[in-house]
Amino acid sequence: MAVVVAVAAAPLLSWTQRQRFRLLFGVHIAVPDGLAERPGLRGMVPWLLSAAGRRQLRYHFLAGPLIVLGGTLTLACWVVGAAAATVYLWIWVTPTHWRIDSPGYATKAAYVTVAGVALLYGTGWFAKALARVDTAAARTLLGPSREEQLARRVTDLADSRASVIDAADAERRRIERDLHDGAQQRLVALAVNLGLAKATLGDLSDEARAVIDDAHREAKEAITELGNLVRGLHPAVLEDRGLDAALSGIAARLPVPVRVAVDLPHRPPPTIEAVAYFVVSEALTNVVKHARATRAEVTVEQVGGTLLAVVTDDGVGGAELSTELGAGHGAGHGAEAGAASRGTGMAGLAKRVASVDGTLSCHSPVGGPTVITVELPCVP
């Protein structure tokens, strides 16, 4: 019966103990994951069945009594120590005829005093050690286990990394929008006005016409350049229409024929979509820059919880994905890859993929063909 009551009171006991540690030692002991701080009657069975619940019981049944015993012992030591250390005081308090009965009491009393002082000193140490053992025991038994703490830490880190990545993505989108709605529009307006000037001002000198022509051409080139820059950041069409539309847009602008096949049952999360877009577009840029390919192919599909993107080209091969990604020594793509592309190309892609727990692999024997496979987590 007593055991049943004790078990039923265990959660309350745990709570009391946590409060004790907070108030006495300033030690915060977290409630283990998945446990209510004070479960009701219905929560008792799962509480008892859980590993953390059983750990708490162990504290209350084993560590608790032992520590109470330790505490009592300490208290006894303080009392005895205090009494022994003040033995000379006692001597004067006790009636004279008692003292006379035990000869040599002065020497004995001196020994007892020394022993008392030593005991007081030792008890201090003992109490401190006991408190430390108690705290450690409570931490391990009442709080979350080491694995739970690590798991919690991993979750926290994954969350904070995800929010950093999302923030970067949002920033890219903002910059894209600002450039798109600001600078780009102004440039287009400028080009339109220069075009109008060219078309409507008939009585211009050849010199003036040449100047306007140049300005007109420059403005149009600037628009194209800015457009490419904006696309590299985060193309608006990716947000509106998804990967298929965005990737076929890049493919159309490449000098090499590229075949794009995107087969996704639904839109992946925006961050995954952005990473997939970035990686495929960079891989295609590499194909054009280094691979000497005559054609390339992109397939994107979903296999279970994975978004699988494969970029293939029939170029010269020899692209390397360095194993030391952290050191940033990725090799460029293709036999012609110069020093400039080293450390950025493939390693950069792999880092971007790794930022969302994806993997990138590259199969590129010298002589080609090159196959780059990207796997990104994409929970359906």
Binding site: H180, D181, Q185, R186, N193, A199, R231, R253, R259, V260
Partner: protein, 216 residues
């Protein structure tokens, strides 16, 4: 010919108005968003509505949706979409529903005043004007295998055809005779197993169907 214009950037709107007026259009309304455009079309019944793709309040594809509405509610009004970036998806939305009286061009094409005026007139008259970039995108993505049968010259002719040019227009662009262009076009139709058609936009329709935009 009467036109209404929807464009949220005032600078650019003024430019487009000037270009269209120089091209002989009578601009009866200029507005800044899709709702305004629909109201203006209802009111003025213009020959052509020129609209930006991305407009307030959502800044995504309001212009495309407005264009589809206009074509369905006022079949006599042609629509010409202008976009900062050209995506064949937006064009496909439009072209899969309507193959005549629609156009889709990059904004910067407005700067080439004569060409833009020509395209606007063509669309207002019930023709088609597609940006070369859209056509390139369509060619890249769809059915690329049968296209391999075309010679590079025929490919260029197909692209110009798909963008809405007439034989004369293509001949002028490529600096060849009309006869040479017809020969190329006949070769293309033969290679792609397409039936002959007389009107210009029927030809574009055939090309677009082949490209996969207007699949039936």
């Amino acid at each position: 010919m009467r036109a209404v214009i929807a464009e949220d950037s005032v600078l650019l709107r003024v430019g487009v108005v000037k270009v269209l007026e120089a091209a002989g259009f009578d601009v009866c309304a200029e507005v800044g968003d899709a709702a305004g455009l629909l109201a203006a079309v209802d009111e003025h019944r213009p020959d052509i509505a020129v609209t930006d793709v991305r407009m307030p309040p959502g800044f995504s594809d309001e212009g495309v949706r407005a264009a589809l509405l206009i074509r369905s509610q006022h079949p006599e009004t042609a629509v010409l979409l202008l976009s900062q970036y050209v995506e064949e998806r937006y064009a496909a939305d439009l072209l899969s529903a309507y193959t005549a009286g629609v156009g889709y061009l990059l904004k910067q094409r407005v700067a080439d005043v004569e060409e833009f005026a020509e395209a606007a007139r063509r669309v207002a008259a019930g023709g088609t004007a597609l940006d070369p970039q859209v056509v390139a995108q369509l060619l890249v993505r769809r059915h690329s295998d049968p296209l391999d049968r075309l010679t590079p010259r025929e490919r260029v002719v197909l692209e110009l055809m798909a963008s809405g040019r007439s034989n004369t227009g293509i001949a002028a662009e490529l600096v060849v005779s009309d006869g040479a262009v017809s020969k190329h076009i006949n070769n293309i139709f033969a290679k792609l197993d397409l039936p002959r058609a007389d009107a210009d936009h029927r030809r574009v329709l055939a090309v677009l169907r082949f490209l996969g935009v207007a699949e039936q």
